[in-house]
């Protein structure tokens, strides 16, 4: 792979294991201390950081949900006023979608994908660092505005004209729109990194039909992000233009259109659901295979279902708009396409059931969450089929039925697998096992609490309770069930509390895990737990779909990468034949500085359109610094 083997260019072929590790650690390490933390481009450190931040946002969003349940437990309660309540539900939705669900899935990929495909770092590692800082800034922007009582109050989909210049007073809707820009920039960056990592950095021999299913799911998700996110950035930017410089994209009085917003928003918003759900599907496939002690049944149909879901995801957005008065023919098309997505979903469920059927299921905590996922997600999928029907939807749209439906899909369909995935990969990330006892308690409380909280909402919705109301009147027959739901929400939060306690406890004193505690089959388990900064001492060569099961004793490895500079193998897209060795960037402070400059520009542009011009100058300077050659060995290539 390298052109020649001059003594000045030491490669991994020249050293024994211990000496090689020492040299690789020297090249790849992140220095200790604050400076190291700010400059690192190690995908594991950034991924871990991303995951922890996303879970902090999950906890904060959960507290908001509890506040809402407290207010709704009784009719005409005066615990929270309408203004604060509107901020709270807007924050809850925006926070969970933009600051928790999408980032946490991408974060899992940032950590796991490079390990699962057997490479030393993610593609564009500095962009990865930049992505995290931008995400953090967007999250802080939103939460600081909430602390100052000026948080967005127009719902997480910010329909115009309510969010427009005439009815959305102050800077609240602008803060929402800019928060979107922050998180979308961060998400797009990670999506590009994942596509390139999966296409070009796979271990030799990991042809397309040997890619682990989680990696496949993240690849499809990354393409969804790349195609869907521009729509919302367009929408939020035009909204800001309407509000800041007086354009009329959404003003019907001046030839604009209030429905244009909804089309743009949902063209993004529906794929968004699959951006959250598909990674979860990959997690389920991974966990089911490991704990059924057999390869997952129907690898090819599962991959096809992922791709089909990804494509269909772009053809259903109008089912969020069935009551705006669209032509019948259009509504019929979108009913049919929305129904059709049940087919790939069905294929996946049946393949997982077949895997369980043909395997020897072991009911460890990750598996419990997956079983909980099947039970709840099938309900969410079926209520999805219900709301896909236009006439059905006219009765339940914007009611608690829909609230129940999407929590079944998003919590049952994505958070359950995610919690399972945390239990599953925690040993790899931290080197320690989580507690099986606490895990079972967490699962039982979360599963029971979730169903008791959200199932009754279906009935509340059919009984006519609209969503997004800060209170309801005593004469409505909803009070008893709302009280029940609020109480159940406490059970659910208790479950999450147990989970967080377990995470903190296990980080400090969990049982030491070892390389492969679950006896899993994918490459991330072929290195130490936690993995060294260079991931793999020698790059594995993959000869089968489940490499650690088909070569249980020792993996074949590839050699020839230099040890004095950061180098990884670039391989071909289809067959993963090694093509070249490519240098990978060193640690740098510039991504952080660029992110700070971008943050200043984006926040400033809430207040003045000139920020886009003057604010671009510091960004330009930081990007120049970022790409300036520094005479490091990595610059040679």
């Amino acid at each position: 792979m390298t052109n020649d083997n001059k003594p000045a260019q030491p490669t991994d072929l020249m050293f024994g294991d211990d000496e090689l590790e020492r040299r690789l650690a020297q090249t790849w390490r992140t220095p200790a201390g604050v400076w190291g933390a700010l400059t690192t481009v190690d995908h594991k450190i950034i991924g871990r950081r991303y995951i922890v931040t996303a879970f902090v946002f999950l906890a904060l969003g959960g507290l908001l949900a509890l506040a809402m349940r407290l207010q709704l437990a009784q009719p005409e309660a005066r615990f929270i006023g309408p203004d604060r309540y509107n901020q709270i539900f807007t924050m809850h939705g925006s926070n969970m979608m933009f600051l928790f669900a999408v980032p946490v899935m991408e974060a899992m990929a940032v950590y796991l994908v490079p390990l699962m495909v057997g490479t030393r770092n993610i593609a564009f590692p500095r962009l990865n660092a930049f992505s995290y800082w931008i995400y953090l800034a967007g999250g802080l922007l939103l939460w600081i505005s909430f602390a100052l009582d000026t948080a967005p109050d127009v719902g997480w989909f910010a329909y115009v004209p309510l969010s427009g210049p005439q009815y959305g007073a102050g800077k609240r809707a602008d803060l929402w729109a800019q928060m979107i820009t922050f998180t979308e920039v961060a998400a797009l960056a990670v999506a590009v990194e994942i596509v390139v990592t999966v296409f070009k950095q796979r271990a030799p021999g990991m042809s397309l039909d040997r890619i682990p299913l989680f990696v496949w799911s993240m690849l499809v998700t990354a393409f969804l992000v790349i195609m869907a996110m521009p729509a919302i950035m367009l929408a939020s930017s035009t909204l800001i233009l309407d509000r800041l410089v007086g354009t009329h994209f959404y003003n019907p009085a001046e030839g604009g259109d209030a429905l244009l917003w909804q089309h743009l928003f949902w063209f993004f918003g529906h794929p968004e659901v699959y951006i959250i759900f598909l990674p979860a599907v990959g997690m389920v496939s991974t966990i089911i295979a490991t704990f059924s002690r057999r390869p997952v049944f129907g690898y090819l149909p599962l991959v096809m279902a992922l791709i089909a879901t990804g494509i269909l995801a772009f053809g259903l957005w109008v089912h969020h708009m069935f009551v705006v008065g669209l032509p019948k023919l259009g509504e019929s098309f979108f009913t049919a396409s929305s129904m059709a997505i049940a087919i790939p979903a069905g294929i996946q469920i049946f393949c997982w059931l077949a895997t369980l059927w043909g395997g020897q299921p072991v009911l460890k905590t990750p598996m419990l969450f997956v079983l909980g996922f099947i039970v709840t997600f099938v309900i969410g999928g079926l209520t999805g089929v219900m709301v896909a029907s236009v006439p059905f939807d006219t009765q339940v749209h914007d009611t608690y039925f829909v609230v129940a439906h999407f929590h079944y899909v998003l919590v049952g369909g994505a958070v359950f697998p995610l919690l399972g995935a945390i239990y599953y990969w925690f040993p790899k990330i931290s080197g320690r096992m989580m507690s099986e006892t606490l895990g079972r308690w967490a699962f039982a409380l979360i599963f029971a609490g979730f169903n008791l909280t959200f199932f009754p909402m279906h009935i509340l919705g059919l009984e006519g309770m609209p969503r997004r109301i800060y209170t309801y009147q005593p004469e409505m027959p909803w009070a008893g069930m709302n009280m029940f739901v609020s109480f159940s929400a406490l059970i659910l939060s208790l479950g999450f509390l147990v989970f967080f306690v377990d995470v903190i406890r296990s980080t400090r004193s969990g049982q030491i895990a070892g390389e492969n505690p679950w006896g899993a089959s994918t490459l991330e388990w072929a290195t130490s737990s936690p993995p060294p900064c260079f991931n793999f001492r020698r790059i594995p060569v993959v000869g089968a779909r489940d490499p650690l099961w088909s070569q249980p004793d020792e993996l074949t490895v590839a050699g020839g990468l230099r040890t004095d500079r950061r180098e990884l193998i670039v391989s071909s897209v289809v067959e993963a034949q090694p093509e070249a060795s490519e240098s990978s960037p060193r640690n740098s402070i510039w991504p952080l500085l660029a992110a700070l400059a971008t943050t200043v520009m984006l926040i400033w542009s809430i207040f003045s359109p000139w920020a886009v011009i003057w604010g671009s100058i510091p960004i330009g300077i930081t990007l120049t610094g970022w790409f300036w050659p520094k005479q490091t060995p990595e610059d040679e290539s």
Binding site: P161, L259, W357, Q395
Partner: protein, 332 residues
């Protein structure tokens, strides 16, 4: 078994819910709502059965695993492949069936061409304006938050908004439809039986989205026509001295700038038309029963009762408050 019990529970909960009072999709009293209720129950039953079947397979797969058995052979894999294919085929059939059922229901809900009566609905933050237009402008009138309709005939509802998006939803009569600025949407409703049907704004519209209720009062044709005739008439002055004083106060204070009372010089159009406010059952979009006490409370401090609404607090003495509420109550 847990799965079966849950299905039974769900279906029975829905049936029980159907017996409840107003504003429920399962308490169908209109032609469209009855059709929708049948569709809803049909789809829910089919989906519950599907879910129960999946759960049965899941439980069997887990129970089966407890018995030790040989490692997966290519024979058993092939058999599972066939079963999965069959299950996917069944999914396709069920999905196609539900899609067709949905199309069929949509066709049944088509727009009526020969509606007896057309009512224009304007959504406002946070109340409903109902305009009964007539070719003869002298016969046109409007009301707020309470719509009377005759039973047994199709009513054409024309939906418009004067500010943000709202959604008109009276679940006992029909599904919802949005009111969108710059557009007009039309739906047909028809009540089969006399009654008071509650509805509520279903699209988030700002601070008081929660308090934007409406009532559709369906009555037989004769009663409806009596009501309409009364509404067409201008307001009549009451002989009661307190109410007379209240009327003078209304014209002097800022009230008249926002409200119309036909037959007087009050002709503001920002707030609800109060010509016959005394004849309505509730005030403030379903917030309070229409009594003299609640009228006084509302006039005295609308912002405490419904924070954020567009009616300002006008400082009044207690005598003035009494007079104004007497006048409002007299506007039958």
């Amino acid at each position: 078994m847990k799965a079966g019990a849950a299905v039974v529970l769900f279906v029975s909960a829905i049936l029980i819910a159907g017996c409840n009072g107003a504003q429920s999709a399962l308490n169908a009293e209109g032609a469209a709502a009855v059709q929708l209720k049948h569709l809803i129950i049909g789809i829910v039953v089919v989906c519950s059965v599907v879910w129960a079947l999946v759960m049965v397979v899941l439980v069997l797969a887990l129970l089966r695993a407890r018995t030790p058995r040989e490692s997966p052979s290519s024979e058993s894999e092939r058999r599972m492949g066939k079963l999965v294919t069959a299950a996917v085929a069944a999914t396709v059939v069920i999905i196609a069936g539900l899609t067709i059922a949905s199309f069929y229901a949509t066709r049944g809900l088509g727009m009526s061409e020969d509606a007896t009566l057309a009512i224009k609905v304007r959504g406002q933050q946070w109340w409903w304006q109902f305009i009964y237009d007539d070719v003869d402008p002298a016969k046109s009138f409007q009301t707020a938050n309470e719509m009377h309709i005759p039973v047994g005939v199709d009513i054409r509802i024309e939906l418009e908004s004067s500010d943000v998006i709202h959604s008109f939803w009276v679940p006992s009569l029909a599904g919802k439809r949005d009111l969108i600025p710059g557009r007009q949407n039309v739906i047909t409703i028809r009540a089969e039986r006399p009654g008071v049907y509650r509805g509520q704004c279903a699209e988030f519209c700002g601070l008081q989205h929660s308090h934007m209720a409406l009532f559709v009062i369906a009555e037989n044709m004769a009663a409806y026509q009596r009501w309409a005739a009364a509404q067409r008439a201008s307001s009549v002055s009451s002989a009661d001295p307190e109410a007379t004083a209240g009327k003078a106060l209304f014209m002097r204070k800022p009230c008249a700038a926002c409200h119309t009372i036909r037959g007087t010089e009050a002709s503001g159009s920002t707030g609800p038309d109060l010509t016959h406010v005394g004849s309505r059952q509730t005030i403030a979009a379903g917030l309070l029963d229409n009594t003299r006490g609640s009228l006084a409370a509302w006039i005295a401090d609308p912002q405490t009762l419904k924070p954020g609404n567009n009616m300002p607090m006008v400082p009044l003495s207690s005598d003035e408050l009494r007079q104004l509420s007497a006048y409002m109550e007299s506007l039958k």
